[in-house]
């Protein structure tokens, strides 16, 4: 969670300084959701499908942070060779089917990963992350129906951060997402996405159900988007002070820190040591990404097909 936070906050600074190409959609505030579920998934048999706001999902699923940073800088040694960029980071070896720049693009692909797991009997689970905006896409409805019909091992992880781009979920999303899942006979719960332990517990049950042949589940996590839709978004659609309030009262990192120190699972010194380690990792990742060479010009033509002449 700390790695994701630092990754995003640092990227925001770098982006505003003009050193990062393309668009950047920051995940700050939602870390407990990605980590709460991915921490319970295996690299080699479990898959996630992500969104345009995908950095947190990638890190939580174990994609190399330095290779990710290089990819966001579109450099040669990026995890996708600089051809994906921020919105298309994928690492199949880590079960990461790709961030997805198309809203609602990932759930149908996750169906396929779940189908493979079912047919190959790997015991694997597929988790598509779906924003409240994507929840209104037809692909999500199709995917929930298909998953229920074929009883696929899936967990639909909805992240309702209150805004689809610049438009509020309260305006654009009718009814409740949890109720939509239930309409497909998919067990669904709503949890506080700033509470790592709540997400973790709901995810544990859902993953267990999927592994045991119980079919798909859905979790709606109420999420808190600290930044705008993209880095640089002036957020004129939000009331003054809204993000400040979220950072003060709905910060999953603060919540986590309070819980583990109160329960004496970790002390403050140990927490601080993690922070120092993370800061160094991100510092190194940015420096290495800036120093990494541009992609070779001939790579433009490579990998259109498995064998491209």
């Amino acid at each position: 969670m700390r790695t994701i936070r630092e990754f995003e906050e640092r990227l925001h600074v770098e982006f505003l300084s003009g050193s990062v190409p393309g668009f950047l959609h920051l995940y700050s505030g939602q870390e407990a959701i990605a980590v709460g579920i991915c921490e319970q998934l295996d690299d080699d048999r479990d898959y996630i499908g992500s969104t345009h706001r995908g950095h947190g999902h990638c890190i939580a699923k174990g994609v190399d942070v330095k290779a990710m940073m290089k990819e966001i800088y579109c450099k040669k040694n990026g995890v996708c060779g600089g051809k994906g960029g921020s919105m298309h980071i994928a690492d199949l070896d880590k079960g990461m089917l790709g961030a997805n720049a198309i809203v609602g693009g990932a759930p149908p692909l996750a169906l396929g990963a779940a189908l493979s797991a079912k047919l190959l009997k790997t015991g694997g689970v597929a988790v598509p992350f779906i924003g409240d905006g994507a929840a209104n896409q037809g692909t999500v409805a199709e995917s929930m129906n298909m998953a229920a019909v074929l009883k696929l091992p899936m967990v639909f992880m909805f992240e309702n951060n209150g805004y689809a781009e610049f438009t509020a979920a309260s305006y654009a999303t009718a009814g409740s997402i949890e109720a939509r899942a239930k309409a497909y006979n998919i067990p669904a719960v709503t949890v506080d996405g700033a509470d790592f332990f709540a997400v973790h517990e709901a995810a544990r049950e859902a993953i267990e159900r999927a592994r045991n042949g119980g079919g798909p589940s859905a979790i709606e996590a109420k999420a808190y988007r600290f930044w705008g839709h993209f880095a640089g978004d002036p957020q004129r659609y939000r009331a003054p002070g809204e993000t400040k309030e979220l950072r003060e009262n709905h910060d999953c990192l603060k919540h986590f820190s309070e819980r583990v120190t109160q329960a004496a699972l970790l002390d403050q010194a140990e927490m601080n040591a993690i922070d120092v380690e993370v800061m160094q990792l991100i510092e190194d990742a940015v420096a290495e990404a800036k120093a990494d060479p541009q992609p070779d010009p001939e790579s433009l033509y490579k990998d259109v097909y498995v064998s491209y002449n």
């Binding site: 994928a90 198309i102 693009g105 149908p108 990963a113 189908l115 493979s116 298909m146 498995v306």
Partner: protein
């Protein structure tokens, strides 16, 4: 050699590849048919045209999967399964429905390998049905392969006969890239000699179906049949037409076309698709750029008009290129 229909050849290719590799699965609407029905789930259809008939009974419903009518979920599921170890053959009942699921084809499957830095394989086949000729109307009759041909990352196959349909489909299933396999609904009952054993026809190799020296006639899918007919007809008048069946629009075998045009000096391209930004216009452009010095006459296209496909059989017949229309264009060109 045994005679088989186009439909039987496709069924046989699917059956043989499913026998050879248990990771080959079929996904689509009614590909078995009858799931959950009051007859107790017996295989009832094998697709709307019966092309996959018998496969569910032989391989079971885990491998021949009837889906809800949800094209995005079908194609996306197949693409995701291809990315994670299976070799799915998804059926998109009619190519006209591609608008419903195009994102999963062109933004997802076609780009995985490239945008993931070369680390993905997507052995996905989408079988779909193209073409007019059955009075099926504007939303069930289009030949939309040009739209798919322009997308990098997709291979597009347009078999014109049963022999090619079997060999090209086997190649498609064994191929590690996404392949769109366009079956022409008006060819399903056509038959020719088809070997019993499995065989693969490589992509990007056009076939010369008639040798000739006066004019090159390039056909796509069902239009090859019309081209052959015209060539046979003109032969009786001593006119020697070379007919090329391009077999795959991507990759496109431009060498065979260029070689032929350099020999004959004349080119007519026959395409059932609408004419703008089409495979016919691409072939014309290639020949104009690469073999202009060898041309004795302008390049001509015989295509459908720039209209949707009408349902009226009378209008549909006017819409389609026909052997007569092709012959008129050829005779005109030969007089120049």
């Amino acid at each position: 050699m045994p005679i088989k229909t186009y439909r039987e050849a496709i069924n046989e290719a699917l059956r043989q590849e499913m026998e050879a590799n248990d990771r080959v699965i079929i996904i689509g609407e009614d590909v078995a048919g009858g799931a959950g029905g009051s007859a107790g789930g017996a295989e009832a259809a094998g697709g709307v045209m019966g092309i996959t008939a018998g496969l569910a009974t032989k391989f079971g419903r885990d491998r021949v999967i009837d889906t809800p009518i949800t094209e995005s979920a079908i194609i996306g599921m197949a693409a995701g399964a291809a990315l994670t170890g299976m070799r799915p053959v998804a059926e998109l009942m009619f190519a006209d429905f591609i608008g419903v699921c195009l994102d999963q084809i062109y933004n997802q499957a076609a780009k995985f390998r490239y945008m993931f830095g070369g680390k993905a394989r997507t052995p996905l086949v989408v079988r779909t049905m193209i073409g007019a000729g059955m009075g099926a109307g504007p939303q069930h009759s289009q030949a939309i392969y040009p739209m798919l041909t322009m997308i990098p990352g997709l291979k597009v196959i347009v078999p014109s006969n049963a022999y090619d349909a079997k060999g090209l489909l086997i190649q498609a299933i064994r191929d590690d890239d996404p392949v769109i396999f366009c079956e022409h609904k008006s060819l399903l009952g056509d038959s020719c000699e088809v070997p019993d054993e499995p065989y693969a026809i490589p992509f990007g190799q056009a076939a010369i179906t008639r040798k000739g020296s006066d004019l090159t006639l390039v056909g796509i899918s069902r239009m090859v049949k019309f081209c052959n007919e015209v060539a046979d007809r003109l032969k009786q008048d001593g006119i020697s037409i070379e007919v090329i069946d391009i077999r795959t629009t991507s990759p496109l075998d431009s060498n065979t076309i260029l070689e032929s045009v350099r020999k004959t000096g004349r080119l007519v391209v026959v395409d059932e698709a609408n004419p703008m930004c089409s495979v016919a216009s691409e072939i014309s452009s290639i020949v104009a750029s690469e073999a202009f010095d060898h041309l004795d006459a302008p390049i001509k296209k015989v295509t459908a008009p720039h209209t949707p496909v009408p349902a009226s059989p009378t209008l549909e017949a006017l819409y389609l290129p026909t052997p007569d229309k092709i012959e008129v264009v050829i005779r005109d060109l030969l007089e120049r």
